[in-house]
Assembly symmetry: D2
């Protein structure tokens, strides 16, 4: 559903071209200092405007409606809203009946029996990730001194990201990329077996980020090609430190005191300038579709901070849960 | 935690060398015929005994304690228990203080402050997957006519699985593998945005299966190297049928009427015959460790039916949730 | 926590003297017509201004931020906000250190380690019930043709409610009351054993309404003084109709096809004009306290519509859950 | 559903005349000493055999299947099973088609479309409360030094309980009663606003106990007849101590450091020796019904320990949740 977490819980809302989008955070402990400036850096990292990103520019000003009192979290739910200033709903009249390939247009039409807000993907839009980033800022504070750092390590199959992006723009196409995320200073034993392993919860929320199609922890898919003697990480200290880190910092679903490391595959954005084939859902006939909205050539450029943010949300919940267990 | 699902919910219990393991299923609708024979085929597929699997043999007889009445689900919780017949707890005395590399020994000791049942991994053992298979049998019935089929497509980096396994046995090492799972006849619009996308829920439960380190849907990691024009699946029928299936049957987190396809990376089993280095957790000193229990050379051989089962559990929950939404 | 429900879920937010209060509704099926006028009648019933209610007047205009598209629920989360226009935070400076008897001032100060918004009770204020009423309006639509009707049947121990209220105003004190709620046209078998009986879920949400201190279903406390032969409701029709209704329309936690009937005890509002004794939480010394804010002499006058609303929320969740179960 | 709690969670299973009943406890911290003898006293208090209780005698031996290792909780789920030794399923053939007045026979038949185990009420039987008592024993240990004490203060409308019970037996009828429960040493600020107030969670689980029809906290229904000046509890110490305790130890849904006090109304058992009227659900025709099973004349005699147990379960969850919040 539209909520995630057991104790530190986030609830997302809004549509791409509705009045606003945002996030409601429940279960956040009191006493964490939060002021508007805290959000700016991460929101800026997610923002568009750079080469390869959409020309739709939003102010992305976080409006805190509740839960912060005299600059500190009060223990009550925190509602953060972002206005949608720069909407052009008329861009989307055509997709009402001609679903865009690769988008949620067709599936959401069916899920909601035609009542969904189809404009710009509505509730399925990447626009909603702005709320995730805001919640991530608070989660990161709660996790201190844990650090979470994600970066785009490859785009369009190339490690020369700039060049790959410029090429995609030139040919009017889009490209994906691979993001690596590293979490340091994680205490041992975060995670909740059997079903809420660290991998389970992180992958759960990572796959709620639009365009993600794969995730691997530590050696990941390469593990499947290794021998056990090669893959096993030798324990060299009572603090949990291991010689290698093929497990990505997780054993038995629990953090083991080493860095948590994972990689995420982001597919190319589905909206492209090229004319595409689709079906008219009222007539059932094939149709040509030319997408006219403003879109990203490489959505993966803006995704690292989102990956960090959702990771922080998952780990904040683990942290609070683990405390509940310390009897 | 030890439960999964919103409406169709499973709760797992048991330890590898305790009295029993099993599963408690809640939210299962009444009127589904379930008899003991229904479990045999899938339990047999998970069982050990074949070349490359452990010599620990369990009868794996499902004991239904509640929730089935006159051969049908009654609507009450279904408890299925499996006795642990073939335990040898003394095999594990050493690991109490010398954590096995790659295992949950070290992390679970820290998580539970030394109170955990360490014998054979205790609650973290692959033994617990027998309960998942039992729940999967019921979930598959509930999903009819959906079919779920997983197979090992690669082991030890080779497509010649037999040979790879024999080699691993010969050298006293373990190997991993890659499993592909395909789900057919899925209705359009299963899945719950924003956070409970089909990928989110499936990956969540897949990563609770011991030894899984990666998952990708459709083109997965290869998506990150494709152009949008190449990746987008062209819609060719009002039933949702697309020309290609790079999205793995999922758009916007919702099933789109095509086969759901994903691949899972299984690491090599951590228990190997070779002597390994570890730390003594009481003295903090390095130690040599020789693992003497009975173990699998290629745990991935037994995993496909587990992958199918947990997929069925996730999809059964989606099915019931989707019905609740049809107002 | 600040959320309620399994499928039809509400999440409440806001503080009495913060920027706004409101509700976020998730899991609401698409296709329910909702326009602003739909809220007016129930919001008006909750409003203050009549004799015996506070002179704090709020416009109580529902601002729909998301989830309604072209006048229908879209299937996405519905955020409804109410601005706090008529706040006077300075009324509350004194209670920061002198907790008002009967209020949450002392407990919330301790719960949130002094970080809570203490102004007017903050997140604990009856002001938040405006969001419950808004969610109730949508839940009532979803429940059609079920009707829910609550009324104040007694105030200050008297059935002459007007007179009791006038007397309370005259003497500068407050009074409580008893509200009876009746639900008609409930289908048989709403409710979820074992723990989510109809009584369990209704009482759960009823006790989240400030000032409620008791609830009884059907004959309630009088049942404890009846013989079984007297209490048992004789079944007279295959539709579930019974001759009497001592069970209040619920057997085994499930609706039985008769009216669901329950009564709720509302205590007198804690804020009174009279000078009271309390403790200074910084010095630990006894203090006199004169409460100067604007308050209700008989809060129970405004509560019936809130009782209806939360009942509707609980029953809406049961309705959707019951559908999920119909395999 | 059949589970309760956010962190300390119980899942109930079983049917009155099936193989067994029991409880699965998840989220219990490790390191709590639990041996079989710990259960005996509370199980004995719930047991039948005394005058006024059923002649169905069960051994009520708790069989611990998992989660306890070397006499301590291990952090893994705790499964406790109770065999049903003394079943007489043939006693219940008639009720399959002739629902007993006041029982769940009619509602459960409808809920589960005839697939429910109808023998002795099946999953709706008071038999299942044995599992609650077992979970309560562990919850009480976790809550130390909190004490929970419930007693029957009235039966059949009389404070002379023995006499009332003897009279009920003599006339072949059943009687109800009122139970008062008092909890001491509760820390300040247990409880989770807005929806999970102490009253909300306690009432939720109390109403899952069969035969409960009302609950009131502190002055309860009498509050509705008091003035605010009378009802308000004067704070006399910085530890939260108040002069009176009309609020029952709870303000704003949070414990205030005084005893939590509440009363529960238990209706008379529905099964009575007298011939009653009902409907044949196959023919729709009126029928006479003579209930032949073994039953309780005053079920309330056995209920106090169950009330204590479920209260302990609710408070254990609050305790762990409150710890998670202490950042």
């Amino acid at each position: 559903m539209n909520s995630f977490g057991r104790v530190f819980r986030v609830q997302i809302f809004g549509e791409s071209h509705g009045e606003s989008v945002g996030i409601l955070i429940d279960g956040c402990p009191p006493g964490i200092r939060v002021v508007e400036e805290d959000f700016l850096e991460d929101l800026m990292r997610r923002k568009s405007g750079d080469i390869g990103t959409t020309t739709r520019m939003e102010s992305d000003k976080p409006i805190i409606k509740s839960g912060i009192f005299n600059e500190f979290t009060s223990g009550a739910p925190i509602l953060i809203e972002f206005k949608n200033d720069n909407t052009r709903p008329t861009d989307y009249d055509e997709i009402k009946i001609k679903p865009r390939p690769g988008h949620a247009d067709f599936t959401s039409y069916n899920k909601y029996m035609g009542f969904n807000d189809y404009r710009g993907g509505g509730h399925f839009s990447g626009r909603l990730t702005v709320g995730l980033v805001a919640a991530g800022v608070i989660a990161k504070k709660l996790l201190h001194p844990v650090t979470i750092s994600a970066e785009l390590i490859e785009a369009g199959g190339s490690n020369n990201i700039d060049e790959a992006v410029k090429n995609a723009i030139k040919i009017g196409d889009s490209i994906g990329g691979i993001i690596e995320c590293r979490v340091t200073n994680v205490p041992i034993s975060q995670g909740e077996p059997f079903f809420d392993s660290v991998e389970s919860q992180i992958s759960h929320i990572i796959f709620s980020v639009p365009a993600v199609k794969g995730i691997e922890f530590g050696a990941g898919f390469a593990s499947a090609r290794m021998f056990g003697s090669e893959h096993n990480d030798e324990l060299i200290s009572i603090s949990g430190k291991t010689r290698s880190n093929h497990s990505g910092g997780i054993n038995g679903g629990l953090s083991n005191g080493n860095d948590i490391v994972f990689r995420v595959a982001v597919k190319p954005a589905s909206s492209i300038a090229k004319i595409q084939n689709t079906i008219n859902i009222t007539s059932g006939k094939p149709e040509k579709l030319k997408i006219t909205g403003r879109h990203d050539s490489c959505i993966a450029l803006r995704a690292p901070v989102v990956i960090e943010s959702v990771t922080a949300i998952a780990l904040a919940d683990f942290k609070l849960l683990d405390k509940s267990f310390r009897y």
